[in-house]
Symmetry: C2
Subunit: 381 residues, 2 copies
Amino acid sequence: MKKDYIFTPGPTPVPHSVSVAQSKMIHHRSADFGELFSRVLDGLKYAFQTQNDIVVFASSGTGGLEAAVANCFSPGDKVAVFNGGKFGERFVEIASFFGLDVIQVAYNWGESANPSDCERVLSENPDIKGVMLTHSETSTGVVNDVEAFGRIVRQTPALFVVDTISGLCAAPFKTDEWGVDIAVGGSQKGLMTPPGLAFVAVSEKAWKAVETARLPRYYFCFKAARKSFSKTPPQTPYTPAITLLQALDVALKMIKDEGLENVWARHELFARATRAGVKALGLELFAKDSSRASVVTSVISPDGINSGDLVRLLRSKYGIFIAGGQSKLKGKIFRLGHVGYFDRYDIIVQLAAVEFGLKELGFPVELGTGVSSAMKILYEE
Amino acid sequence: MKKDYIFTPGPTPVPHSVSVAQSKMIHHRSADFGELFSRVLDGLKYAFQTQNDIVVFASSGTGGLEAAVANCFSPGDKVAVFNGGKFGERFVEIASFFGLDVIQVAYNWGESANPSDCERVLSENPDIKGVMLTHSETSTGVVNDVEAFGRIVRQTPALFVVDTISGLCAAPFKTDEWGVDIAVGGSQKGLMTPPGLAFVAVSEKAWKAVETARLPRYYFCFKAARKSFSKTPPQTPYTPAITLLQALDVALKMIKDEGLENVWARHELFARATRAGVKALGLELFAKDSSRASVVTSVISPDGINSGDLVRLLRSKYGIFIAGGQSKLKGKIFRLGHVGYFDRYDIIVQLAAVEFGLKELGFPVELGTGVSSAMKILYEE
């Protein structure tokens, strides 16, 4: 008997009740759908901690990032992108593809974005129209200090655009309190739902920018979405991913029942336990500053062990899906996810699997060392 | 006991085995997903009757239409759109939003697009870069003669772009044989899968246009999709809608098992039976030429009866979801779907419900008249 455990930082484990909610289908031009969709929009506002409008698209999270760019800017607009990993790079790519004038502030992978850089760049470039930041940089494990950036950007005319696709409901995120004008989320991370939905929370400041933005958009048009959402019952401009919305409805209720503060605390605890387990095995963390790293724990693969080999071994023999390194980190790090539907035993299972795998690959492991250290933290709380 | 019957022309009924296939989830960077995705791409090639590459997006069908425009054209390119309904209008809108020079050939709703108009427009405008046609115009019930258009367009440098979102696997459609350069489909119609996936079949002629097209696209980029699809195992550039692909895999197998020619014949038979039933009730069809109208049967609401009232009554009291008229046809027609997962009893049930509803709204109906006429056709075959 080999069960499969998806411990990657997206897609993440889906609760059974969320999974089976996909197994029926209602019509999207019906009162029932209107009720469902209203509940989902309310639940998303809670998850994003916002009173802003939220638009929902049938798309991957990347579609939400593209929507942010296409709805808020015009060709040649100057934007600053703070890039410390694969998803920071994606922001740079999208903005460049759409003809924006991109000032890139690049960090070594594993480093956090520095708010003082934001201050400097904005004062040197008062014509900046947007500041783009990745909340949780899934490729490195870094969670950036969105709050500190927000304090700076809100004093300028620039829009503050944040990718919180893997951060939402995993690390604290307060759209309104932190002054985030555009926050982009996805269904398949902290929201515990299968992939295929993207969400964008749009502030009043951002809506004003939408009015004058000249980049072409149709499918991802915020205004078309808002117009349909405000109908009674609320609708979507195009046929929505109905079954995924049904699943999300169940997941959002779980999050509300647990309470967002508790959800964040759980992620923080599990991250702390995972870090303790990893360190007890004599391994080194990849992210320089792990104080906010509650989404995914990135670990430097020990000398002589290619992290890809570990990932493959855990998948093929041990039924555990963890992630390796992406792009320039290929073979060099592995990533232990604890985003979304995780309980304490998942943390133990994941560390146990890592111990099995590393031992089999020749790394000296006293079996149970990492697990024991994690258990002490999981017990104390 | 009131069961719910979704007889709208999208979303359409989903077989139980397809529904429950959403209830598990595999990781999208795995050999298992690679096998699934390869099978899905092969199945789609069969459904589209093509050897061309097929790209798959997590989006509504409209996203696929936008992808067609954004990948193949540059600002100012001249295109001809043959527009006979709401989805023809959508093509006009998308092309206009993206700054194309749109020659619109408009028809009264309910009329088919005329191939001789295509011949004329192309000879008057030898610089036309694209011809856009809606295969099945869901808003009116008309199915256009794609084959005849294809014979004309293939002799010119223009790309032939066809929206077959509601037509695919419902009315005959032969991408390669008919010279369709860009064919756009969706999951929630003839493919019997919940909404949230769009497909685009891209010909060699279209790939050449992609190389020089300058409209911005990122999420919907064909080249990025092809690059990921051609990896071993095949992947997608961004996290795919995994559970919907699992469902589609089951649906495509059903279509292959039934055989596409048989699927088309079944739709044609059910359309014929529905038309016979409707006519036996003394009602008039809306589409002028119903010879190819195998997707949805549009019916003119009798004098004094608002079709919206009929639709609402059937939903609230009889558990039957049919569609009313859209835009300018609101209140004037109702539409009986027979796309996708329909058997002969669904046709009978739908007509029975229409009889109940019309009678209750004061239209003189001898109960069973429409059903009997349909049954005669369903029995003979």
